[in-house]
Symmetry: D4
Subunit: 154 residues, 8 copies
C-alpha cells in the first residue's frame, strides 16, 4: 500500500471488458484502489519486442523478444501489487494468466481468481493457490470493498 | 514507515474497546501512527465469504471462504505493518490471534502482546515471540511513544 | 527432503496419543517419513528453562525462559520440515499450536490441520492457512501416503 | 543437489509417456539424476482430497480439497528441485503446468519447457520464463547431459 | 514504483552520452521515470575513497576504498530500481557493468542491456540474464514507453 | 529511499555529539537525508522496559524488558534504512553497536563504521562487514555527499 | 540438520577452554551434535590474510585482509548452523562475537549466549536477540540435551 | 556443506590450467572440497544450445540459446556453492565471470577473486564484492586450507 491506496493487478483475459467493469465498480464504491494491468491491446502486445527492438525472421524468437518486453511490465507490477486478480475466459489457452498466478503465489501475494464454473475442474490448482474465487466482476468489487472497508454489499 | 508515520496493526480480540483506547491514547499523545486492524464487525467477518461470493451449504466451506477473504486483508496489513500488536481477551479461543502472531514472527515483525497475567502460562510461546508484553492499552501507547519519540510516560 | 525421506513435524496437542497413531500408521504403510515433534513431556516442557538455566522467582520470566529453550527446538524443526501437521484437541487453549501454524504458513510450509469438526468455526483462519484438514490420524497417514507414493487408501 | 545427484521435477502432461522416455534416456546416459513428478494417475489425482479426507457434495470444494492435497506434494518437490521441466501436450488446458512454471520461476528455479512448435505463440510467456525450450524428450536428456556432464550428443 | 513513477537505474559506460540521450527521450515522451546512475565523473569516481576517507599509499587499497564508497551508492540504487539498464561500450573492460548485471539478476530485477552487435558473443551470458537487448538509446526509450504506457513507437 | 531522500541510521555511541555533528554537516551540505537513531537518552533507554511496562525485581529481566522495547525501535529503523552508520567510541563495551552492525550486514545494508584508529584491530571484523570506515563525522558527511550527489569535498 | 545431527556453531571468546568443555559434555551426553567454530588459534587468526595472500605494510589493510579470509569461514559456518552459541569472556572487546550474534539474529538462527552475570547490563541487547542465556558450559550442554532429546538434567 | 565437505565453484577463465592447479593443491593438502565449474570445453560451451536443441540461423539467438543451457548449470552450481572463486585472465572480455561474481555477491556467497595485479584497477568493484583476492592458484588453496582447517601455509 502506498498512502492508504491498495495496488490491485488485473491479470488474464484481454478480450472482454471485465477490467472496465471492475474499474467502474471501484469508482462507484469510492474505493482507494490503484489498478494496473498488462498491456491489453492484443496487437501491440504481440509486437512488443519486434516493434521496439527490431524485426525477427523466426517467429519463436519474435515471440520470445515480445514476451521479454512484456515481462518487464508484468513482473514489476505483480511485485508491486497488494492483490492480484486473475481472470480466465472461455477462449484461448491463457497460459500466461496461469503463469502469473503461479508467480504471484510463490511471492506470497493474495490472489483472487475470476471465472465461470465450467472452468472449475481445469482451474482447481490455480483456485487452490488463490484466497478467493469470484464468478463476475461485481463479486471482485465486493471482495475488495470488504477487504478495504470491511463492508458487505447490500 | 511511510513519510515518517509508523504502521501498527492491531490483531486479536474484537469484543472489547481496546483498539479505541489505543487510538485515543495515540491521538492524545500526538504520535505519527497509522492504525490498521482486521474487520472487527463480528457478523460481517463471519459472512465475509458468503456475503461477497455466494452462499455455501456446508459450514466448513462457508468458513473457509470467509477466512480466505479475511486473509486478503489481514496478510496484506501484517506485511505492511512496522509493528504488530496482538490482544488476547478472556473469551473465545482466539486461535486466529495466535496464528497472526506466528505469521508476524516468521516475517520478522516486532510484536507487542496485550493480555492479563492469568493468561501468561498459556501464552508463553506467543509472548516469547514478542518484544514486549503489555497489560493494558495505556502500556501499549507508552511503548509506542517511547519507540517513536524516545519519551517515557510521566 | 533428505535422501528421499520426508520430514514431517507434528505440532500441537500433547495429551493424547495422536502422534503414536500417526507413527504406527506410517510404519505400517512403510512410508519414508522422519517424524519430529516438540517435547511432549508436559512437566519437562514447563521446566525447560528453569531446569536447564536456573530457577526464577517470577513465573512470567520462568515461562519466558522455558519458552525460549523450547523455541530453539521447535523453530529449528519447523524450518527443517517438509510438512507440518498441527493438532488441536478439546482441552487447553493451545495457542502455541496456532502460533506454530502461523509461523509455518509464513515460511511457506505445507500445513495439515487435525481436529474435530466442533472446532471448525474457531479454527477457520488456521484451516485456511493449511492445505488439508484431517479429522483423525488415519486421514493424516492417508494424506502422507498419497503425497509420497501417490496411492489412495483401500 | 544431494550427494552429487541432480533433482529434476517433471511437471505437466500426464497422458503421454514423455516421463518414461526421459527416465529411459537418463538411465541410458547414466546421468546422476533423481526424477520426481506429480501423481500421474489421473483418477487418483482427481480423488486426492475426497479419497483421503472424505467425500464432498459440492464439486468445487471436492476439487479444492484434492488440489490442496496434491499441492503438498508438488510444492515440496518443486522447492526441492534443481531443475523443473514443464511439458505441454495438445490436449486439455493444462493450467496447472503453467501455474507450476510461474511458481518455479518466482523461486528462481531453472526451467526447461517441452512442447511442439504449434504451441509456441500461446506459450511465449512461459517459454520466456524458461532457460530452454525442448521439442522432444531426447532433447531434454541432451540438455541434462550437457548441464551435468558438459557433453554434447553425437 | 513510488507514486506511479518508475525507477530506472542506468549502469555501465561513462564515456559517451547515452544517459543524456535516454533522459532526453524520456522527457520528450513524457514518461513518469526517475533515472538514477552511478557517479559518472570518472576522476571523482576513482577518488571516491581517497577523496573522502584519506589517501592510500597502496593503489590496490585505494581502489578498494573507492569501490566501497561507490558501492554504497550503486547497491542502494540497484535495490531501489524497478528496471536496470546496463550499457556496454567499445572501450575498457567494464567488468563493473557486468557485475551490476549479475547482482541485479540475482535480485530478480528486470534488466535491459544496451550494446552493439559486435559484442553479442562476448555478452551472451549477460544478455541471457536480461529481458531485452537494445542497440541504441532510442530503443531503450521505446521499451520503457511500451512497458509503462503500452504504446509502440511510430 | 522515499521521495528522493536517503534514510541513514546512526547506531552506536551515545555519550558524544557525533550525531549532532553529522546532522549539522548534512544540513550545511543541503543533502536529502533523513537521519534516525536509537533513543540516545541513556537513562530513558535503560528504563525503556520498566518505565513503560512495569518494574522488575530482577535486573536481568528488567534489562531484558528494556532491550525488547528498544529493539522495536532499532530493528524497525535499521530495516528501513538505506545506509547504517555505526560509531564506536573509547568508552563502554558497545556490544549493541557491533550487534547492530552484524544485523545490518546480514540484511545486506551498506554500513559505514566510524572510530579512531586505536580501535582498528579490535574492530577488524566489523570494519570488514562495512563498505567504508570513517575517522570523524566530517568524513561521514563527505561520504554521504559523494554517495548522494557524486561530489568530492574541497 | 543433516542426517539427524544438529550443527552448533560456537562463536566468541578464544582464550578459555569453554569449547572443550562443551565438546566434552556433548560427548558424555552422547548428543548428535556437530560443533564448528572460528579459527581459535589467535596468532593464526591474526595472520589469516597476510599469511595466505601476502604481507601488508598498513596494519589496517592487513587486518582487513585477515578479517575477509576469516569471514569466509565464519559466515559459511553460521549460515550452516542450526544453533549459534556466543560466548563473552571478561577480557578483550569481543566485538566480533557481538557482530556474529547480530548476523545470526538477522538470519533467524536460534542463539544461546554464554557469559557471567557481571556482563548482563552491557550485553542486554545481545541477550534479547538470543533464545537462552547460559552461565557456564554445563548449562549450554543441558540446553542442547533438552532441545535435542527432551530430557532435563539430573 | 554436505557431510563436512565444502562446495567450491570455480568461475571464469577457461584457457589456462588454473582449475587443475587448484584441484592438485587441494588433493595434496587433503582438503574436504568438492570442486565444480562451468563447462570448460570452449567449443562445447559455444554449442550448448544449438548442439542440444537445434540449429539457429541468427547468431544472436544461437548464443542466447546456448547461454540459457549453460545458465542451468552455472546458476545451480553457484546457488549450491559454499565459496565461489572467480578467475580473470589476460585474454577475452570475460563478462560472464564478472556477471557470476555479481550474481554470487547478491546471493551472499563468499567470493575469492584470482587475477594479476595489472587488472586491479579494472576489477576494483568485483574485488570489493569479494572477501579475498588471490594472485595465483597456490594462494587460493592456502585460503581454502585456512578456511577449512585453520592452518597457515609453511
Amino acid at each position: 500500500m502506498r498512502n492508504g491506496s491498495w495496488s490491485v493487478y488485473l491479470s488474464g483475459e484481454i478480450h472482454s471488458d471485465w477490467r472496465e467493469q471492475i474499474a467502474a465498480g471501484i469508482e462507484k464504491a469510492g474505493l482507494p484502489v490503484e489498478l494496473s494491468a498488462p498491456v491489453t491491446d492484443h496487437a501491440a502486445s504481440d509486437d512488443a519486442g519486434t516493434g521496439t527492438l527490431g524485426e525477427e525472421t523466426d517467429s519463436f524468437w519474435g515471440d520470445h523478444k515480445g514476451a521479454g518486453v512484456n515481462a518487464i511490465r508484468t513482473q514489476t507490477l505483480i511485485r508491486d501489487a497488494d492483490v492480484v486478480v486473475v481472470r480466465f475466459g472461455d477462449k484461448y489457452r491463457q497460459w500466461n494468466a496461469a503463469f502469473d498466478a503461479g508467480y504471484a503465489a510463490a511471492l506470497g501475494k493474495p490472489i483472487v481468481t475470476l471465472h465461470d464454473d465450467d472452468l472449475d475442474h481445469a482451474l482447481k490448482e490455480v483456485d487452490r493457490g488463490a484466497l478467493a474465487t469470484a464468478r463476475n466482476s461485481d463479486q471482485v468489487v465486493d471482495v475488495l470493498r470488504y477487504v478495504i472497508e470491511g463492508k458487505l454489499p447490500g
